[in-house]
Structures are given as structure tokens and as C-alpha cells.
Amino acid sequence: MALPFSYHWRNLLVRKTTTGLNILVVAAVVGVFCWLIGFAGALHSSLATASDSRKLIVLKSGATSESNSAIRTDEYNKLNQIAEVERLPGSGAPLISPEMIVQVQLPRVRDQGTTRANVGVRGVTETALQVHRNIKVLGRSFAPGAQEVIAGVSAAKQFGGLEIGETIHLGYASDRPYRIVGYFSAAGGPLESEIWGYLPSLMNAYNRAMYSSASMLLQPGAAAEPVITQINGPAIQLKAQTEAQYWSEQAKNIRIYLNITYVLVAIMSLAAIFSIANTMFSSVAGRTREIAMLRTIGFSGVQILTGFLLEAVMLSLLGAVMGCLGCAAWLATVGRTKDMFGATTFTSLAFEIQLTPMIILAALGCVALVGAVGALFPAWRAARVQVVTALREA
């Protein structure tokens, strides 16, 4: 049987200052870790829900996003010849959605409008709702030809002026504002961060003659690769991507940001390891005679080592609990929605950060490991205390 739990617990309590400081260091690491993993998870799930395997995004050849793409009508019309495109029953019209994307600056709700961010405004036709299958209009959609738009639920939450009944000025039609008439959801995907309106009206408002992109829905079971090859080929000379590829590219800079944060968390974890190691070293140094006594009465080196590791893990887990609570409090205070710019669109993409039980478990697991690694050498040293020498020094 190992040393009693109360032995380790009270040894932590008697060193209030160092224990407290260690808890703070670990809590900081865990807080950032939870936020980061929550954000990465939100990004992943947002892009995963956005990605319809039957959908292709078509851009101008050489364009990296919809915002720097321009497709002429004659180029767009060539897409109609693709046999694998799903067609409407009856009319046989291909399910291809011509779209135009522009940006509008709106005040952020989170700082009471002190700062503004770019929000994507997408011009679409009625076909869009059949191509983008995860879009659900909440309330009423815009009427073709009317000065009306609908706002994505995430955009409405983050930006001011998007309440139903409010109006926003778009393009050159400043004397004829657009009224918000409804909301739409996109299963948590990035489209929820946009405002949608009727394509001809918005093209007119922005004096545009070309589409930004086209989204097309393939027939069930149709392979995407041959279609992409056909679109990218000499006959059409546009650039097609699956939706997953497209959004993955748009989230590239967010991934860079995440990677930098991962490095920071790794550095912070190292600091936590050193902090715990330092504490445990001083703890071992201050308890040499105690360790010698325990060895004398029959505790083995392994039991001493395990005891010190357990003590460090307990210390780390206390910090982890504080960190998780801190992260939860932060999300409750500041809000769970995090918006970031897409890599090439420069429009805001919003994600809902979730502090899930899995994230908490992962944090606890990682932190237990950090504690054990930090305490390994001091604990090994404790296990190898020279009993006779330590007793003589007493």
C-alpha cells in the first residue's frame, strides 16, 4: 500500500505559497489550452458541417477565393453542359447557383460597436437554397427584386444593425437601404457569418457585371474529381474545388494562428514542467530526513517515487481544475463566439467555442502528464536518498 492520500495532500497545503504559484501557472496553461482546443474543435466542426461532398465551388482560374474571382456569364453558361450536375425534376434545370460576394463593414456587438469588421454579403438566386442544402431560412426570405436581405444567425449575433426590420446600406444604392427580413442558419458553417440578398439586385447595387463564383450540386454518387478536371480543363478554363477544399484553404490563416498558439501552449507547458520540477526539488530537499525515515521503516524506493509523482499530479490537477473553471468563466463573460478573418476573403468567419467534457478530460490528462514529467527527476532523486547518510545528517 502506498503512502496515504492525506500525507500528500497536507504536504501540498503546508507549502501554500509555492503550491499556489504552481496552481496559477498550471491554471494559465490549462485555461489557454481549453480555449485553444475549443476553438480548434469549433473550426473543425464548422468546416466539417460546411462541407457538402456533393458540392463544388467554381472560381475564376487563378483566383484564391470568391472575393478575387470574377466569372463572366459566358464562362458560367459553360457549366450547364456538365452531365454530372444534379437537375431539378420536371424542368431539368441544372442546380448551379451563380453568386456574387462583396463585403460590408458592420460594428461588432462584443465591444459595443467600437470596432468594425468585414461581413460577407452574398448575392444569390432561388437556386441557392437547393444547392446549399444545409441552409435553413428562419422566418421569411428576401423577395426577388425587393430591397431585402436575410442575415446569417452568427452574423446577426456578432454585428449590430442586423435585427429584423433594421436596414443597412449596401453598395451604391445608399438612397435605397436594404431591410433585414429574416435569418438563416447553415448548420454552424461559415455561411452563417454572411448576409444574403437577391443576386440581380445586389449586382446592380454594386455595379457588377460578373459573378464571383458558382456553386454546383452533383448528382448522388457522382465522383467530384472528373468534374473538377473537366472544369479546370481547356473547354471551360475555370477553377473548381470541393467545398471541403475551398473552406480548408479559407481557414488557412486561422490554422497558422492556431499553430502559433499551440507553440505558445507548448512553451507554457514547459514552464509549468520546470515550475513543478522546481517545487518538487525543494520539497524533496526539505524532506530528506522524512524520506530516509520512510525508507528505514520499510517503504521501497518505488513507493517513494510513486508518492512524489502522485503529489505533483495532484498539484497539477488542482491547477487544471482552476484553469477549466477560468476558461468557462472567460467564455461566459466574453462570449463563446470568436470571429476571425478568412485567409483570402477578408470577411469575418465566426466560430462557437465549446468547452466540452472531452476537452476537459484531455486537459486533465495532459496536465497530469505535465505534472508527472515535472516531478519525475525530483521523485527519482527522492527514491534514491541515501538512507544512512540522511539519518546521520539528522
Binding site: P4, Y7, R10, V14, T296, G298, F299, S300, L391
Partner: protein, 240 residues
């Protein structure tokens, strides 16, 4: 002559420091009968503590044989010695070496954690050990809430809680005043006479030595004198 509890045959112990050999014990032969209270005296550096450590299985002789009960310690591995110590020897130190964050009862319980034993049985044993040393009413006190004499009594309770055959005490009264020392020595007498423990005690104090039945004088690693005393009356072993 009773059965020998401890037997040392031609024991040498040499420490090496910076390639220099420092002999501490020089071919020591010793036989201690079971149930005797032996006092070990001698000047500093005479090898008293080293002898205690060898008999306690904390150190190994450079040569020679050390038998305690049925165990030849010089043949045992460190792991075997660790287990053996937990079952056959009780240690009492000058500075008590109690764990400051644990209560008296928890300190006494420590050696029992190495046995397969129910919590209820452990509690019962701890209570018995503390009542032997007269501290059953101090079970929940921490070391800093006890006097020096009481701390040493808790340490004695810890040493006897596993009911070992041999108790090794390294200057158990070295840090105590005369009156408290007398109480501790009487307690050791009680353990010897009423519980039949074989006790080997290191001390510098001639008054303390008078509590033993036999005094061994070591000097420069050699047994210089071996004196037998009349056994102290058990009646003298007042624990209060």
C-alpha cells in the same frame, strides 16, 4: 544462555572517501540474546551508529556475517532488506522523525500500510500501540502539538506497532531533558520486560545506560568492554 537474536561474526565495515579507506568496524564478533536490553556506548566515530545500521539492515558489512533471527542480512538484496525491516525491526531516532503533516495516529499507522491489513485492524493496532506509550488521548494531535517527550513516545509507538522482535534506538533521549528521558527509558524497559523485545540502544548518557542489562563499549571499531548489569526491576518501568 537463551537463543541469540542477533549474531555478528568477524564483521568489518570500511567506508571509502576519495580513494581513502576509513575502517569503522574491525572484525567485530557479537552475540545478543533474545529479549535482552543492550546499551551501546563509545565516543563519536567509534562505530556505534554503523553497528546499529548493520543490524537494522540499513547498510551492509564490507565483510563478515550479520544474522538477526533467522536472516543472514549480508546475503540479502536491498529490496529484501527493505521488506525485512518493515516486519522484523522497529527504529527509534534521536530526532523522532515524525511526519509533521500527519497526526500521531497516522504516524504510528505508517509501517502498517506495508502490510495486508484492513483499516479497522490498523486502527485497532494503532490504538493499542499508542495506549502502550500512554498517548491514546493524543491520537489526533499533530507533532507540533506535542512535547518532545510525547513525540518520542509516538515514535516508539510507531516502532512497536508491527510487533517486531528487535527495537533499535539511536540516542532516543539525546534531545530530551532528564525527567522526560527517564520516562522514555522506563518505557523501553517496559517493552523489554513485559513484551520481550530485544532492544539495542545507542547512548552517550551513563544514566541511560543503567537501564540496560548489558553495556557494550566500542572504541575505534573494536568492542572494548562488555559489561553485564543486574536487570532493572520491571516495577521501575513506569511509563508516566
Amino acid at each position: 544462555m537463551g537463543a541469540a537474536a542477533i549474531e555478528l561474526t568477524d564483521v568489518r565495515k570500511v567506508y571509502r572517501k576519495n580513494r581513502i579507506e576509513i575502517p569503522v568496524l574491525e572484525g567485530l564478533d557479537l552475540r545478543i540474546e533474545s529479549g535482552t536490553f543492550v546499551v551501546l556506548m563509545g565516543p563519536s566515530g567509534s562505530g556505534k551508529s554503523t553497528l546499529l545500521h548493520l543490524i537494522g539492515g540499513l547498510d551492509q558489512p564490507t565483510s563478515g556475517r550479520v544474522r538477526v533471527g533467522d536472516y543472514h542480512l549480508e546475503e540479502m538484496t536491498e529490496r529484501e532488506l527493505t521488506t525485512w525491516r518493515s516486519r522484523h525491526v522497529g527504529f527509534i531516532f534521536q530526532m523522532y522523525h515524525l511526519v509533521p503533516v500527519l497526526t500521531a495516529a497516522q504516524n504510528v499507522e505508517l509501517p502498517l500500510l506495508l502490510f495486508r491489513m484492513s483499516a479497522a485492524e490498523r486502527r485497532e493496532r494503532v490504538r493499542t500501540a499508542l495506549s502502550v506509550v500512554g498517548l491514546e488521548d493524543r491520537m489526533d494531535h499533530r507533532p507540533n502539538q506535542l512535547s518532545g517527550g510525547q513525540e518520542q513516545r509516538v515514535a516508539i509507538a510507531r516502532a512497536i506497532v508491527t510487533d517486531p522482535e528487535v527495537i533499535l534506538a539511536d540516542e532516543p533521549t539525546g534531545d530530551l531533558d532528564a525527567q522526560t528521558s527517564e520516562g522514555i527509558l522506563n518505557l523501553l524497559n517496559l517493552l523489554n520486560t513485559d513484551f520481550g523485545k530485544t532492544i539495542l540502544m545507542v547512548t552517550h548518557d551513563p544514566k541511560a545506560a543503567a537501564h540496560g542489562q548489558r553495556t557494550l563499549h566500542l572504541d575505534k571499531g573494536v568492542l572494548e568492554r562488555d559489561t553485564m548489569h543486574a536487570p532493572r526491576a520491571a516495577a521501575a518501568a513506569s511509563v508516566n
